[in-house]
Symmetry: C2
């Protein structure tokens, strides 16, 4: 079975190499940009791929919403299976692609778009069919976990942690999508679509790691707490979807603390299965390519779409999940929150709040920052 | 689609309840022992199940090799899909059942037999199709992990840990299969069959946790090491299969140390995917039933057998995997091993050996015990 490839960057090359070695599969034509056709198996003409009857499936490894969406849509309209690692594409255009897949009978799988090598969305889908998914989430961004781990274990500050991540190729020149939590949030969105047939596009709360300092890490270590950037989503008792990304403080004995370097940890809670955690490499050429190949093999054994054509875009409701927060902020802003305990350190205070809704903590942080003040917050979960 | 159930104990009842709630599925007849038919949906006649055209699949939840094998064989011969949580059955008769499944075109899945709610064998099979599995294993027995965790965190001795596990229903009245490592070894055997199409039945090394004392745990804690019962299997460079169960000492910051109570952790290493770890509940009514339901849903989407009809029974070769060991033994037996470091404690010594083959350490332990002496050993992995 021939599998074509769209995009020949880090991941695309890995997929090509793996297809050459996987029994029963072989690489088909590879779409590259005009002017980059330097081998017979490469083409800059998508029609050569969608009109080739020997192409059974297509791996999209370009990244970005356009032109990936236009190409992916053409692939599905032609009735060819689509497998993608492109989270921006699926978060933005998943329902449209799912509808095209359903109309043509083609498969549409994207487990490589969330958690890299970790078979998270694949298992989430199977669990959603056979169990009730109560919640899901995890450490879904390797760049920020690498930085948090460096700050935690080496005591370096944020700027040095970022420089090291960039030097090792874990962070891009513009790291905003990673450090702001946007990348992880897109992965949570895909998890919601897979588990609940709901794609949250509004009402999401997102806090990255940009506010964390070496002094914060030192204070947290004295409390035997480790900071991780965690996404969480699920259904409230009234059936509303919550979904957010924020720093979370976990005990140094928790499995989340044992997620080192650029590893990821994804989880779901099934009503019957209980808490299932999956750990592995969340990015990189071969880990991501292995996930694309896994989806291709899953198509071969009969799997079809990870998203239904009737997947609804919804507004998330983060007014119900509540937690206590660890907050560092200027002393003269401390009355914006109710603290269970508070320690003064010059003009700065650090404290543990009482429980408050996720949406409220994020709004208070935005207001205080809007007043030109610095603040760090992270959820404390017991 | 109707799913019949063989056996109505802890797991069978859970499967029945879940089938009633899963869209598109419903419980079929339930096979119970003669004299136990107290409801219209129960029967003591297997023929009522295998000859019922409305029965699409059968969940075997009886346990033990016979009569489970006779019944399972009849189910597969009748062309009905078989899903089982019975590791003893699959470890003993897997290839015969796989051959029957292939002959009749029925499915044969058993991911519930290894790791409970954790979708380990399911993912291992998919990874084996799309990647090269270099090794696999994990903490696959919840009873012993619960005991080890109690000894580690509460400081209780072995007998008290066992009593607590029995009181909570985690350990059976005769705990031999768990504490000797036999249960975990069967699960490793299933992993090998799924990943390598090889079922190791000879040459296996097995050491349980019976020799661990509270004094050992205390000494290990001073070294910041945590004892876990781990199974490992894989292929050596020359293509020989190794497979063994033994206590392993892991740093207290490792993910394996964060596996608490009766949880399990299973892993595989893919050449491309890297190390993938899965954690969850390894036993219990609903966790195990959720795994059976997951396999049923996997059949519905096209999955077939987890074991091939040509799966070969082989002799494991544990002469190549090597590690250093922590050993506690009588002082006058210490010359049976070469130690890198050794501490005397009265008539007992505790030391770290140089690297030696797994098979050699197990043989030395057997010899020393055969001389009436007590000894504890656990692998030290760096």
């Amino acid at each position: 079975m021939k599998v074509a490839i769209l995009g020949f960057g880090t991941v695309g090359v890995g997929v090509y190499e793996m297809l050459e070695k996987t029994p029963g599969l072989s690489p088909g034509p590879v779409l590259v940009r005009a002017g980059k056709v330097d081998a017979p198996y490469k083409t800059d003409d998508l029609d050569r791929i969608v009109s080739d009857p020997s192409v059974w499936a297509v791996c999209e490894c370009m990244g970005g919403v356009e032109p990936a969406f236009t190409y992916a849509a053409a692939v599905l309209k032609a009735g060819k299976h689509l497998v993608t690692s492109n989270k921006a594409l699926v978060a933005a255009k998943g329902p449209e692609l799912a509808a095209l897949a359903e109309a043509s009978g083609a498969g549409f799988l994207f487990s490589a778009a969330c958690g890299g090598a970790i078979p998270f969305l694949h298992n989430l889908q199977l669990a959603a069919e056979s169990d009730d998914i109560q919640s899901l989430g995890g450490i879904l961004n390797g760049t920020t976990n690498f930085m948090l781990d460096s700050m935690q274990t080496l005591g370096v500050d944020y700027a040095d942690a970022l420089r090291e991540a960039q030097a090792l190729g874990y962070a891009e020149a513009d790291p905003t999508a990673d450090v702001s939590g946007m990348d992880a949030l897109r992965k949570i969105m895909l998890g919601c679509a897979t588990a609940y047939n709901l794609l949250p596009t509004e009402g999401l709360c997102r806090e990255g790691i940009e506010s964390l300092t070496a002094a914060d890490v030192k204070d947290l270590q004295s409390r035997r707490l480790v900071c991780r950037l965690l996404g969480r989503a699920g259904l409230t008792d009234s059936g509303r979807l919550f979904a957010y990304i924020q720093p979370v403080l976990v005990p140094d004995t928790a499995p989340e603390s044992a997620v080192r370097k650029n590893f990821n940890l994804a989880y779901y809670v099934g009503k019957n299965a209980g808490l299932i955690r999956l750990m592995g490499q969340g990015a990189g050429r071969y880990p991501t390519a292995s996930a694309l190949l896994r989806d291709v093999c899953d198509l071969r054994r009969g799997a079809r779409s990870m998203m239904r054509a009737d997947c609804q875009r919804v507004e998330a409701d983060n007014s119900l999940p509540v937690c206590r927060y660890y907050v560092r902020l200027p002393k003269d802003k401390a009355d914006a929150l109710r603290f269970e305990s508070l320690i003064e350190d010059g003009e700065t205070v650090r404290g543990i709040t009482d429980t408050l809704p996720v949406i409220r903590m994020h709004a208070i942080a935005e207001k205080i920052r809007g007043e030109g003040c610095k603040l760090f917050f992270a959820a404390l979960e017991d």
